[in-house]
Amino acid sequence: MFSQWTFAKRLAAGYGAAALVLLLIAVVAHRSTTALTENDDKVARSYEVRAKFRLLLAEMIDAETGQRGFLLTGDDTYLAPYQAAVAEIKPTLNAVQQMATGNPEQERILSAIQPTIDAKLAELKRTIDLRRIAGFDAAAKEVATTKGKTLMDQIRSAVDDVDRQEGETLKRRIAQVEADSQWALGIILWGGFAGVIVVGMIGWLITRSLTRQIGDAVGHVQSSSSELQAAANQQATGLREQATAMSEITTTITELLVTSRQIAESAQRVAQIAEQTAGGARTGGDAVDLAQEAIGGIRRQVDQIVAYMLELGKKSQQIGAVLDIVSELAEQTNILAINATIEAAGAGDAGKRFAIVADEIRKLADRVALSTKEIRTLIDDVRSAVNTTVMATETGSKAVDLGSQQFGQVAAGFRDISGLVSTTTEAAREIELSTKQQTTAVEQVNLAITNVAQAAHETETSAGQTLQTASELAHLSTNLARIIRPQAAA
């Protein structure tokens, strides 16, 4: 439980225990001293009581002495001690009475002696008066009655009783005082010794626990300060790099600012060009519409050409059919000529002229066949050309259709271009506006980055100070460890 106490609590407990020991010693010493003082007072009072009673006896003796001197001489000068004593006896008796208050024995003695004193004083005064009035003898006779002596002896006996009583009381009180003094001295000596031991033990315990815990704490502080030193070093390095990066960022942002302004100018130019493009796109759309109409006319012409070409192909086929007939006729003519030749050969000389005619017919048939072949070749060429033309025309028609469709797409594209260019114009204006806003924002960012760079620089300085503080803390913890644990620090 003690190890869980705080430093202040331990110190408070230690100092409290020491203070308790000292308080105990102080109380005991105070009570002893008080008792000693009371005993001293009682002793002094006993001395004073004895002195007052002796003074009272002395004053009574002075009064008797003056009475005797006057009685012997009749000279009033001898009455001076008597008169002085009579004047002092009353206050002295009052004082004695006050001092005897609370002491029943003394009060009894005083109550017994007080009429005796009054009677003695009355005897003294009567004898003095007798001397003065009746002379020496009358006075001597009165004195010789021993009444005065008896009163005086009673007074002396009472004073002796009081003195003896006070002497015994005084002896007892002195013994008490000595005993109290010995007790007080013992208390002070042994109490102080015990207090020193207790305080020493408390101090040893506190020192040991605090040394251990403060040593551990100092060790932690040392390691923490080392870590803090390393962290401060890293932080300083990082902040230097951050400052460098901030400088580069500032440069980049400045370039970005210039670029943003250029972008804004370019966007403005783009907007202008886009407006011009929109006009061009509208013009192009109109031109495409006209071209599309022209292509429609071409499409109709091509359809007519295809129809003509197909008709030409049919005619060519008909020519081919006719040519087949001619070719077959030529072939049949040739066969007939051959047969005529055979017949002429069979007719002998009579058929020679017939053979000549047949030969001419055969030649003519050969020529017809040859021409037919040429015509067929030409017809084939024509038909091939027609087919090619038809195919080309159909291809052209398809191309025209495709062109018309593409022109339609181009017209739609021009319309889209016009719309897109309008959108582009708006976008370029928005870009211009946004870029201007961006420029303003970049300027603000630049200012903020400058502030951040300044803050980084200040933080770097602070990190340097932190590093210095960490170094000082490490040095301080080392010194503290050396103070707390010299052997460990060594």
Partner: protein
């Protein structure tokens, strides 16, 4: 309409001029010694027939097939009111098969006809253009001589030998049938 090409015009003019010249020239006193040939094509191979061995060239007509008779006998056909057997000249000569026969060549005695595909031309060839067959088996083959035409030797089918061979096959076939019975 554009004018016809110059080549066609020239050809027409040449034909007209040749036709007119044939009437303008005098008749030849004696025709040159030539032999009439008929250039034909059997499959892809060129052949020639002598007109003197042919009675008539007829366009091919419907042939009625007959059972038996071998691959060369196509059937019988009616020609000028007479039923004649028609033989495939291409099969007889062992040439490759091509399209259907378009022409009949009637033999000189008009007893049978040889069918062939293509009639190429009517040739008048001098005698010195003929080349005789050099092998010893000349008497047994239907081709006994050739005619040289533009550095090409065209075989001349000897129809009488073909007819003789066919006539020799017919009794044999008839005897065979009799023996089977």
């Amino acid at each position: 309409m554009s004018d016809p090409p110059a080549a066609v015009t020239d050809t027409a003019a040449a034909l007209r001029q040749a036709f007119d010249r044939s009437f303008a020239e005098a008749r030849p006193a004696a025709p040159p010694a030539v032999e009439e040939l008929l250039a034909i094509t059997l499959g892809d191979e060129p052949y020639a027939l002598r007109l003197s061995e042919i009675d008539e060239i007829l366009a091919a007509r419907r042939i009625t097939r007959l059972p038996g008779g071998g691959t060369a006998l196509l059937g019988i056909a009616g020609c000028r009111g007479t039923i004649v057997p028609v033989y495939d000249l291409r099969a007889l000569l062992g040439c490759g098969r091509a399209g259907p026969a378009r022409w009949f060549a009637m033999t000189a005695d008009a007893t049978l006809a040889f069918a062939f595909e293509t009639l190429a031309a009517h040739l008048r060839v001098p005698h010195d253009a003929f080349v005789a067959h050099q092998t010893d088996a000349r008497q047994r083959t239907p081709v006994r001589d050739f005619v040289r035409l533009d550095d090409e030797l065209r075989p001349i089918v000897h129809l009488p030998s073909l007819i003789e061979a066919l006539q020799l096959q017919v009794p044999a076939t008839g005897n065979k049938r009799n023996s089977e019975r």
